[in-house]
């Protein structure tokens, strides 16, 4: 069996899956499934089988839709999953049915994010403002979260996914807190993809707790007040659990044009995308549209594109 390594020619990027016959007893089949890792070609003949694996990277196949360019994929995407309640109302269902549908939509997006090579996905599950909702809905949300975490945890851990929870955990039920600690501990060394779930979180709360952390360090004599800079604040924010704390793209569903206090500091240069669909309807096509829009943006970070 022959194995050849060649750099990916750019013309291969728009290949469609197919097979062609090279000769009477020799078939070549190629799959369009690739990212930076190159193209997998398989040449089979009655006499021998030759497999081309053009790059040095992992052999794993990654399916990126053809509308998206691999080199322009964001590293960190954040999502405000808005619209479960409205979706349920439109369907004539109860609010908890909307949240259940929302969890299914989230599972799909998490899977796609992992497959398409994102490094981090942050989702806004429960805000500090949501505490005003009826108690019955809050209890349902937390029990739904607990059940989903228990059922999906093994799959995610097996797929080398790291799970982190950020937010003010002091008001969460104790069983949920225990589960969160277990899950975070068990997956903390996973490296392929990180899912951050914001529960009881708000951007202002995050900056406030970072400020308190810094004040404590000043009080303990660890640092001087003059040494406080943006880097120090970044270290103290709860998103310090990831190598990529700043989202490249923020998606909010349901058409509302607000950030609602989600990830304040971290959104300084984030591209915003507002999807009209309600969260349970968002799905693969909505995600592709958001990513396509991101890939067309010109990001200048205050400078100039000369």
């Amino acid at each position: 069996m022959l194995s050849l390594r060649v750099p990916t020619p750019t013309s291969f990027r728009r290949l469609h899956a197919g097979r062609s016959r090279l000769s009477r007893d020799c078939l070549i089949s190629y799959s369009p499934s690739f990212v930076n890792r190159g193209v997998r070609l398989r040449v089979r003949s009655t006499k021998s089988e030759v497999v081309f694996t053009p790059t040095e990277e992992e052999e794993e196949e990654v399916t990126l839709p053809e509308e998206l360019q691999p080199e322009l994929m964001p590293k960190h995407v954040a999502i405000i999953m808005d619209g479960n309640g409205r979706w349920a109302k439109n369907q004539g269902l109860q609010p908890w049915d909307g949240h259940r549908a929302g969890v299914e939509a989230l599972k799909e997006i998490v899977e796609l994010s992992g497959r398409w090579g994102l490094q981090v996905l942050t989702v806004f599950a429960f805000s500090t403002d949501n505490w005003i909702r009826p108690r019955i809905e809050i209890d349902f949300l937390f029990s739904l979260f607990e059940r989903s975490l228990k059922s999906e945890f093994q799959t995610l851990a097996k797929n080398n996914v790291r799970i982190s929870i950020i937010g003010d955990s002091s008001k969460l039920p104790k069983t949920l807190l225990r589960l969160i600690n277990e899950v975070e501990e068990a997956t903390k060394n996973n490296t392929r993809f990180q899912l951050i779930v914001a529960v009881g979180y708000s951007g202002k709360y995050d900056v406030l707790q970072a400020c308190r952390g810094i004040a404590q360090r000043v009080k303990d004599g660890e640092i001087d007040v003059d040494e406080i800079d943006e880097g120090l604040i970044e270290q103290e924010l709860e998103t310090n659990c990831t190598e990529f704390p700043y989202p490249d793209l923020l998606i909010r569903t349901s058409g509302e044009l607000r950030v609602s206090n989600f990830l304040l500091w971290q959104l300084a240069y984030t591209e915003l995308f507002f999807a009209q669909e309600l969260w349970p309807d968002f799905g693969r096509s909505g995600y592709i549209e958001a990513l396509m829009s991101f890939q067309q943006r010109q990001r200048r970070f205050g400078g100039r594109k000369s």
């Binding site: 202002k204 000043v218 406080i228 943006e230 607000r258 206090n261 304040l264 300084a268 400078g303």
Partner: protein, 297 residues
């Protein structure tokens, strides 16, 4: 025959005046209708697209910013006519210092010229009784611009009708950083002074009292907020960014958590009444729901 060009000129001047009066009247009627619904108290603008506008119209480099300034004056006029009390504009970001030195210098020169013009009698400041604030890390500006800015702030300090906040050498993260620093200094100083009054050996009840006091000594949200430079104004109700880019670019991150965001595709010099009206109508649509939520919180 020789008088004809002069007559035509006078006539066209007269027609122009008449048209302006008609437009002005229609605009005021429109504003009266819009005012039947809730009007935002504070509007913020990211004035993006000046250079692209200059390129699009084949003008020279600096003309885009000059056209942008005229558009700004027009928008301010509309806002204050409509009864909006606070307007904040993103004039120059700390990140913009990274641009070419020639562009930075020409922007500084333009800003100096325009800041000085604010003090003239015919300026919009006197027309509407505007109190002007310059928000940002003013130490990063050159001495002339900084001195001019401080002069304007002092001269307009007694105005109280409406407010204009000009963010210059500003970054939201820098603003938050300065507020965090000040909060740490204030609390640290307070802690040192307070601990000086504790006895050397504490009994149990005194330790408990100390714990409660320690809790109070922890920095709270209000401590950070009162140290923010933008604390002189309420949070913006609407943030409008021109040129179609949908990002905040490190502007008012703390204050726009619940603001309505608007991203008209028009470049800043092309911004007009219709964009403002559209933003306000959208604001009015979601206003009642947001007010209800605010009360619940």
């Amino acid at each position: 025959m020789a008088e004809l060009p002069g007559q035509i000129k006078r006539m066209s001047g007269g027609i122009k005046q008449l048209l302006e009066q008609i437009f002005g009247f229609s605009r005021r009627c429109l504003f009266r209708i819009i005012s039947m619904g809730p009007i935002p108290n504070h509007l913020a603008f990211i004035m993006d697209g000046n250079r692209r506008y200059a390129k699009k119209c084949g003008l020279e480099e600096g003309s885009g910013h000059k056209a942008g300034f005229s558009a700004l004056m027009l928008m301010l006029q509309y806002c204050y006519e409509l009864g909006i009390q606070y307007v904040t504009i993103y004039a120059f970001s700390i990140d913009n210092f990274r641009r070419q030195p020639e562009e930075v210098q020409s922007l500084m020169d333009l800003m100096l010229e325009k800041i000085k013009s604010l003090l003239e009698k015919e300026s919009i400041v006197h027309q509407y009784g505007i109190r002007v604030y310059f928000i940002g890390n003013l130490a990063l500006l050159n001495d002339q611009v900084r001195a001019a800015a401080e002069k304007v702030m002092n001269a307009t300090a007694k105005n109280s009708r409406v407010v204009l906040l000009i963010c210059i050498a500003y970054n939201s993260t820098d603003e938050i950083l300065q507020a965090v620093k000040k909060s740490c200094i204030n609390k640290y100083t307070y802690n040192i002074e307070a601990s000086g009054s504790y006895k050397h050996e504490d009994t149990d009840s005194e330790i408990e009292a100390k714990d409660i006091e320690n809790q109070e000594k922890k920095i709270q949200l209000v401590d950070i907020e009162e140290n923010m430079q933008m604390s002189v104004a309420p949070n913006p109700d609407i943030l409008i960014r021109s040129s179609g880019e949908t990002r905040l670019s490190n502007f008012l991150l703390w204050q726009t958590g619940n603001s309505q965001l608007c991203f008209p595709a028009a470049l800043w010099p092309e911004i007009g009444l219709r964009h403002l009206v559209w933003a306000i109508l959208n604001f009015q649509r979601s206003h009642s729901y947001l007010e209800k939520r605010k009360k619940q919180l």
